[in-house]
Amino acid sequence: MTGIEKLRPDLAVIARHVAPGSRVLDVGCGDGALMAALRSQDCDVRGIEIDGALVEQCVARGLSVVQGDADRDLAFYPDGGFDVAILSQTLQTAARPDRMLAELLRVGRRAFVSFPNFAYWRTRLALLTQGRMPVTRALPVSWYETTNIHHMTIKDFEVLAGDLGVKLRRRWYFTGDRRRGNGSANWRAENALYEIERN
């Protein structure tokens, strides 16, 4: 379980719930921290990352990572090529999140998807009281320079999953670095993680 405890909370949950030996595609893999943890669980892990400097770090760690844009390049991966596809904190940056979810479940039988919840109460409060796009701990970048072009809430995600006929297998919610319960998650959770699969 090398390094799992050092991972971001959503990534640590993913690492614990991917079966050893799985074939995994990490879309938007960043510096490869999750990939490295999964590799130590004997998974065959591949990554896609748009930032060349991060790809360079991944290659230097011996990870197989392709520099590319998930909006465009997922299309080149074969159907069902992976047991698990992972999209952490990236869905809100997609040109078309609906199509990206469909692509994830085309290349992977199952997928883990995490995203910041725009309906978190601090975000709502900031918008309500200041009347400006919130800049919070989870969303620290101003509206004009953020890469998050499709903010969504937990409720939005679940509705979209229903529309796409995607099955929600498991869900985890986080506030700060801590897991939290499922009660009133759309108010109280800062980040959400779902395990989804094709129906």
Binding site: V55, E56, V59, V66, Q67, D73, F76
Partner: protein
């Protein structure tokens, strides 16, 4: 330090894609670093069009350091304290391996009697060399530009011969633009009266034609930004000492003209014009997908090796789009592949020059 010049004569005829064969060709090569006891630390570096086996040792004609001395050596990214590095002159070339300038069985130079070869033929000869050296499986095959084509061809046709393939600034097929530039070079050589139908070894070589070919090609190895930064529209100092004056003639007024003439002339001292024809032809014929039924993915079916593909944002000879095309095919074949486009100002030649990010990627991939 490298050993004395080494060569190996293949004991069997080398079959060629053209249908012909080459009787017992010689492969000249250099090695660096010790081969370990279980022969598992060998790295093959494949050279580019006008490269040679002197990857990290002094060139015997020019006296210059090896063409990739910054990358290969003790403590370098391709660490010869750890790896046994092999670099061989391709067949068709002119630095010791059998080529058009070599003496044919009848005692005369082959000249144009040398068979037209392909990149796969070059690699077939390299595989013969590996057999002769007793190396079954390379730790890695590495190549930039035409060297990358050879590494790709090895991956597609002899996939079991290497555990890793590192492909830098290369392509799986020559484009119309690539072929067009090569044709300009070949025509320049063949338009030189000294070329004489390729039969010039007893007299003077077609240096003027070869120099023009090199000048045209050299432009394709650089970027427009790089040229602008290095030369701009700056003028040469005149022979009479005046600075920055136009000659109102056809001397090399601009610094870029002088630079290209220098590059062209220097090249003729170390390269054979017929070799240039043969090797550019081999590159133009290169289309890995075509060799495998038209689908590039099929070229990599069943491969178990790891791949790393590197392109440079200023390389317009083999642009990033060509690397992406390879990566997509490798992905579709399920191969473990890494790909990164590095930012460097030097155009296609970036792979030979000071690009620290390339050092890190090469070192990391070989870990």
């Amino acid at each position: 330090m490298p050993d004395a010049p080494q060569s190996l004569r293949l004991t069997t005829p080398l079959p060629l894609d053209s249908g012909g064969e080459l009787a017992a060709p010689t492969i000249a090569y250099e090695t660096y670093g010790e081969l370990n006891a279980d022969r598992s630390n060998a790295i093959l570096i494949c050279h580019a069009l006008t490269g040679d086996q002197y990857v990290a040792s002094t060139h015997p004609i020019t006296g210059k350091p090896g063409w990739w001395a910054r990358m290969v050596g003790p403590g370098k990214p391709i660490d010869t304290d750890r790896f046994h590095v092999i670099c061989a002159n391709v067949i068709g070339s002119c630095l010791g391996s059998t080529g058009p300038a070599s003496v044919a069985p009848d005692g005369q130079p082959y000249a144009l009697r040398f068979p037209v070869i392909t990149v796969r033929d070059m690699v077939r000869a390299l595989v013969g060399l590996l057999d002769g050296l007793g190396i079954e499986r390379l730790y890695c095959a590495i190549g930039g530009s035409m060297g990358g084509m050879q590494a790709l061809s090895l991956a597609a046709n002899w996939p079991e011969r290497a555990a890793r393939f590192l492909l830098i600034a290369t392509t799986a097929r020559h484009s119309a633009q690539n072929i067009a530039f090569h044709e300009v070079g070949r025509q320049a050589i063949m338009a030189d009266p000294r070329w004489n139908g390729g039969d010039y070894y007893a007299g003077e070589a077609p240096d003027a034609g070869l120099a023009v070919a090199r000048m045209a090609a050299h432009i394709t190895y650089l970027s427009e930004d790089g040229l602008t930064e290095k030369f701009g529209r700056r003028l040469q100092d005149r022979p009479d000492g005046t600075q920055g004056a136009k000659s109102f003639g056809f001397d090399a007024d601009f610094q870029i003209e002088s630079y290209l003439r220098y590059q062209g002339n220097g090249f003729t001292k170390r390269f054979d014009a017929n070799s240039y024809l043969y090797i550019t032809r081999a590159m133009d014929y290169f289309d890995l997908a075509d060799e495998h039924g038209g689908r590039l993915t099929d070229a990599f079916a069943g491969t178990t090796a790891r791949f790393c593909v590197v392109s440079f944002d200023s390389d317009w000879l083999y642009p990033t789009s060509e690397s992406r095309h390879m990566v997509q095919a490798l992905n579709a074949a399920g191969a473990p592949v890494s790909f990164v486009e590095l930012s460097a100002p030097f155009g296609h030649d970036s792979f030979l020059l000071d690009v620290p990010a390339l050092d890190r990627v090469v070192k990391g991939f070989l870990e």
